[in-house]
């Protein structure tokens, strides 16, 4: 609002000048709709955060949408299993840009108490990019709120000039992993084949 002298006097009280970035980020930050999607125990705390006591509505976020098309934020709230991972990646791909991912709890961040499990993915960031990690098992609603505020901070500091989703070179989606004998990313198939199809060296067999 520095160049007020260009504005006729009678309009000065009615017109505010600001940057596109500020307005764009301000509106996105204050109406960030999370996806209605819970994975495990952490989802219960997420629901409690949305309920009366912690009241997510204070941040303009109470509108949880089950459809990924209408969401801005995916809260990965719980253990990501191998069976579920392809679905999560698909949901992520279906979300419209700008999209954010918040990894809630130890499981979503790194496998948590179930890390050794044969059906557990060691953190959702193996497949999709994560913006904010919230530690805890489960994180308390306060912790989740803090994580959300951190995400708001991140949004505030973005600029339309540099955000990836207006750039041509940004890839449009992530390859969906497939369930073979174990979960695998199709784009790593060659690498896997080199290992599984190689002739077994004499000293190993």
């Amino acid at each position: 609002m520095a160049n007020d002298q260009h504005i006729p006097e009678e309009l000065q009280r009615n017109v505010f000048m600001t940057t596109v970035d500020f307005l764009y980020n301000w509106s996105r930050k204050n109406s960030m709709w999370p996806m209605l999607f819970g994975l495990a125990c952490c989802a219960i705390e997420m629901i409690c955060t949305a309920a009366g006591r912690y009241d997510l509505a204070r941040f303009g976020m109470e509108v949880m949408r089950p459809s990924p098309r209408q969401c801005d934020l995916m809260i990965v709230s719980g253990t990501v299993t191998k069976k579920m991972a392809p679905t999560i990646v698909r949901l992520y791909n279906q979300m419209a840009e700008p999209r954010y991912v918040l990894s809630m709890g130890a499981c979503a961040t790194g496998g948590g108490p179930f890390k050794e499990g044969y059906n557990v993915v060691s953190g959702i960031d193996k497949y999709i990019p994560v913006d904010v990690y919230v530690p805890g098992c489960p994180p308390t609603p306060e912790a989740l709120l803090y994580g959300i505020l951190k995400l708001h901070e991140k949004v505030e500091n973005q600029s339309v000039k540099t955000v990836p989703w207006y750039r041509k070179e940004t890839p449009k989606g992530i390859a969906v992993p497939e369930l073979g004998p174990d979960i695998f990313q199709p784009d790593r198939a060659e690498e896997i084949a080199m290992f599984t199809l190689r002739p077994i060296p004499a000293e190993e067999s």
């Binding site: 495990a40 309920a51 069976k83 174990d182 077994i200």
Partner: protein
């Protein structure tokens, strides 16, 4: 231990002449049955001895167990009970050789064996001949191997038992990811070609023709879940529809299969307690309760908790029941379309209880509160007073308020009355338990029929309802909260002073060799833990009889013939929690 000790010494085997050649032996814990005569013998037990309820069905892999050979490597274990007389049941065991693990399915005798047999097939590769849908249920078709076998190792496998030495060599943490070539929790069999991979086709439901439907229309297959607002988590059902009528339904689980049982075998006995919290994460206290009861059976005198601890356990378990039913009623209303407003009120009450839990145990949800031979921490008089205030004033008033607004609400009545019919016979046959079973008019409550802990000291009614529909399930839950309040009032009046833990706390628990089945009436139904010990610091087998999972047996029979919108409500009234369903 469910078997009669006298059968051990007596020369005659139990039920020896019932079916010739069926009973081939007996041990301290059960009757060993010849697999060729299993069906006949089970029929006899059901029809003549009154064991009409197949509670738990599981298997144990005894590879390398002392005294076992390849000839009797696998053992399938059945726990049968009598819903009319109550009391201890009977345990059947079928031993199977390593190279031929198959036996006849009991699905014709006990239809409730359906999901549990599929689970055993999935985990152990034991075939149940005659099962119509013997497919994997937790893992996917094409998964490499059967993970619960003792010789199947995970990608991150380090050692048979915890604590893993490799975790902190010289005080430095080593990432599990660094030990596998892919940097991730995966492994692929030699010779598998990922470029030639074809995914398995999705499972399709069996279609039932509804009599009386004149116009034949095309069937549509609709997939609901695993990401669906009505499935209470990551449950998936594949529904076949004729118009809007459900004509077939296939449940698909495993989207939250977190390998509790495999991890449980590597953990120490004590280390499993926090894992039980994460089973049914809405009622962690009663999960703790079931597990410590099972293990305490193997600990003899040492495992007997002091009086005050017994009371604290009951208080916590009943508070949990109220919290759970509050949640489930709120979310049933959600499923009916009253989105979130009723739930806001019920969650508020749950928060009050969680505050008490947080103060007693240090955590709102994952309480990790009970220990073998007691509880972790005592509560003070102030806590007890606040708890008294809650159960005398606040909670009863709130239950009445809910009752007033909901029970006679026209929309609720129209959407739930007569929906999801399940007769008493079907409910028993399908191994349904908990409020679901009692809403079909069967007064089977473990707190009465097989009293554990100190439940025999309290006055309360076993709530039943003859409605057999969703409305009856709602009513039963409502009334059960009132009964819990009744128990709580008595327990809070009688709670004595004294210690809450016997012995000194330690990481390692001495557990005798043997096996035990401990069960509690959790908020969702009979939550059982079947543990086998080889006398070491870790369980040999740790099986969870999960009520939410077994209640799903009834999902397809209840939904068929109703509209697809009703199936959402029917599922909501089962009150599943995926952490427990998929384990």
């Amino acid at each position: 231990m469910t078997d009669d000790i006298t059968t051990m010494e007596a020369p005659a085997l139990p039920y020896a002449d019932a079916v010739p050649g069926a009973v081939v032996g007996a041990d301290e814990f059960g009757i060993i049955v010849n697999r060729d005569k299993l069906v006949e013998f089970a029929l006899y037990l059901r029809n003549n001895e009154g064991f009409d309820y197949l509670s738990s069905l599981t298997a144990v892999d005894y590879l390398g167990f002392e005294g076992r050979t390849a000839e009797d490597r696998f053992e399938v274990v059945y726990h049968l009970f009598d819903t009319k007389k109550g009391g201890d049941g009977v345990v059947l065991k079928v031993r199977l050789p390593e190279d031929d693990p198959q036996l006849p399915s009991l699905i014709m005798v006990y239809p409730g064996a359906d999901l549990q047999e599929r689970e055993v097939y999935d985990f152990y590769g034991i075939r149940f001949n005659g099962h119509p849908r013997l497919r994997r249920i937790f893992l996917w078709e094409g998964f490499d191997g059967h993970p619960m076998r003792k010789d199947w190792k995970e990608a991150y496998y380090e050692a048979e038992h915890k604590p893993f030495k490799s975790r902190w060599p010289n005080g430095h943490y080593h990432w599990a990811e660094d030990r596998v070539p892919w940097g991730d929790n995966v492994k692929y069999p030699q010779g598998w070609d990922p470029n030639a991979f074809e995914p398995a086709p999705p499972p399709l439901p069996t279609i039932h023709d509804i009599p009386g439907e004149e116009i034949k229309t095309d069937r549509v297959i609709v997939n609901m879940g695993p990401q669906h607002p009505s499935t209470h988590g990551v449950f998936r059902m594949i529904v076949a529809l004729d118009g809007e009528t459900v004509v077939g339904l296939e449940p698909e689980c495993g989207y939250l299969h977190r390998n509790h049982e495999k991890i449980g075998e590597r953990n120490t006995w004590l280390g499993n307690i926090p894992f039980t919290d994460r089973l049914d994460y809405l009622s962690s206290m009663s999960n703790n309760f079931g597990y410590v009861l099972a293990v305490e059976q193997l600990m003899g005198e040492k495992g007997k908790p002091p009086e005050r601890a017994e009371y604290l356990r009951v208080i916590m378990a009943e508070l949990t029941r109220i919290a759970n039913h509050m949640w489930s009623i709120g979310f049933l209303l959600n499923d009916l379309g009253a989105f979130f407003t009723p739930a806001l009120y019920t969650i508020q009450e749950r928060e009050m209880i969680l505050d008490l839990f947080e103060e007693a145990s240090g955590s709102r949800m994952m309480c990790n509160y009970m220990r073998f031979g007691g509880v972790r921490r005592d509560v003070d008089e102030d806590w007890l007073n606040r708890c008294r205030d809650l159960v005398h004033n606040r909670i009863p008033a709130k239950i009445d308020e809910l009752d007033e607004y909901l029970t006679n609400n026209e929309i609720l009545l129209a959407r739930t009355k007569g929906v999801g019919y399940l007769s008493a016979e079907d409910a028993i046959a399908l191994s349904v338990c908990g409020p679901m079973l009692r809403a079909s008019g069967v007064p089977y409550d473990l707190r009465r029929s097989r009293p554990y802990s100190i439940y025999d000291r309290f006055e309360f009614d076993v709530v039943t309802d003859d409605g057999c529909d969703v409305y009856a399930r709602y009513r039963v839950r409502m009334e059960e909260m009132r009964q819990s309040v009744r128990i709580l009032k008595q327990a809070l009046d009688d709670i004595p002073e004294g210690p809450v833990f016997k012995g000194k706390p330690g990481y390692v628990t001495r557990v005798a060799k043997g096996e035990a089945y401990g069960a509690v009436e959790g908020p969702k139904g009979e939550l059982g833990f079947y543990v086998v010990s080889d006398g070491t610091d870790n369980p040999w087998r740790y099986h969870i009889r999960a009520p939410s999972y077994i209640n799903l047996n009834a999902l397809a029979p209840m939904c068929i013939g109703y509209k697809v919108a009703d199936s959402v409500v029917i599922l909501g009234a089962i009150d599943i929690v995926l952490g427990e369903t998929d384990r």
